[in-house]
Amino acid sequence: MRVLVVIPSYNEERALPAVLEELRQAARALPHQIEALVVDDGSRDGTAAVARAHGARVISLCSNLGIGGAVQTGLRVAYAEGFDCAAQVDGDGQHICADLGAMLERLAAHPPPDLLVGSRFLRGDGFQSTPLRRAGKVWLSGVLRLFCGLTVSDPTSGFRLFGPRALALFHSAFPFDFPEPEVLATARACGLSIAEVPVTMRERQSGRSSIRGLLTAYYLLKVTAAIILDLLRARRQVRALETSWTRSSAATGSSLSSASASPPPSSASSRGST
């Protein structure tokens, strides 16, 4: 399986070398063709140079688009170059790349989920986030359960694996500001199956989160509103996904075999597995 690991990075020159080294070691142990793509989101430090020096492919964005724009850039590359799936790993060192193996194993299971989320709460070890953030996650989990019927323990996890159908959907339409919970709502509304895999997370190795202080309250309000709006817009996205899926299936043929058993999602398709 060809896997593109997308690492969105903004001013991460200090944490990035360890992340790329860890990814290289994890890739050696896996029976897949794994390629690292650092999306330098308009950094003002030497993020791009450090990533190149450590052998990663680097896309440098000329201005800061935010996490959503950076991740979508990677998904566009993965989709255009015919990768079987794309993983999202943060550039701040929070995620342990060895957990990618468990996620890829789960993606190879039958039926394969379309979107996999690494959850720090399933196993309960490692860094469990601050109490305030945990409260926010509980709120977002409740919103997703109420409006989408989706049970997910770590809705803000940025450790994800996008299968072929998720790639077909999200390479063209990806939420920008605070994308993680919105991605789940959109995926669910478009009939993609979502599963969680237990992972261990660390505290960020450098820098500080963009969501802090009063912005946390704004984040929760904005994401709640966005989830509701996404559900209203989902019908249009399902049509776009069907077109995109038909085109990619025709272009890549058997390379999408891991999901070929599943029909293009429609309003009648099965719901997520979580």
């Binding site: 896309i59 440098s60 964005l61 000329c62 688009l65 979508q72 850039t73 566009r76 590359v77």
Partner: protein
């Protein structure tokens, strides 16, 4: 400024001038709409028009932002592709 925005601005000015020259028409419309004072009707119409303009401006701003994000991504992807082509040794 686009032709559409210029036309809207000119029409708004003409409507204002017409109201100043022929206030009877405006008074008639205001009364029919249930306003006792012409000034109240005028402010209500102005607020509604400005809200509409604000909404259309927000919509077009969102579209421009989406296009700008897509262009930034495309630029980054193409630049990386060019760099890779440049780095490839010539056959």
């Amino acid at each position: 400024m686009t032709i559409q925005a210029s036309l809207f601005y000119v029409l708004a000015l003409l409507a204002g001038a017409a109201m100043a020259l022929f206030p009877e028409g405006a008074v008639f419309i205001a009364r029919r709409m249930g306003f006792a004072l012409l000034a109240n009707w005028f402010f209500a119409v102005a607020i509604a028009a400005l809200s509409f303009l604000h909404l259309t401006a927000l919509i077009s701003l969102s579209r421009v932002e989406t296009r700008s994000i897509a262009l930034t991504q495309e630029l980054g992807i193409l630049r990386e592709r060019l760099e890779r082509l440049g780095a490839r040794p010539e056959a």
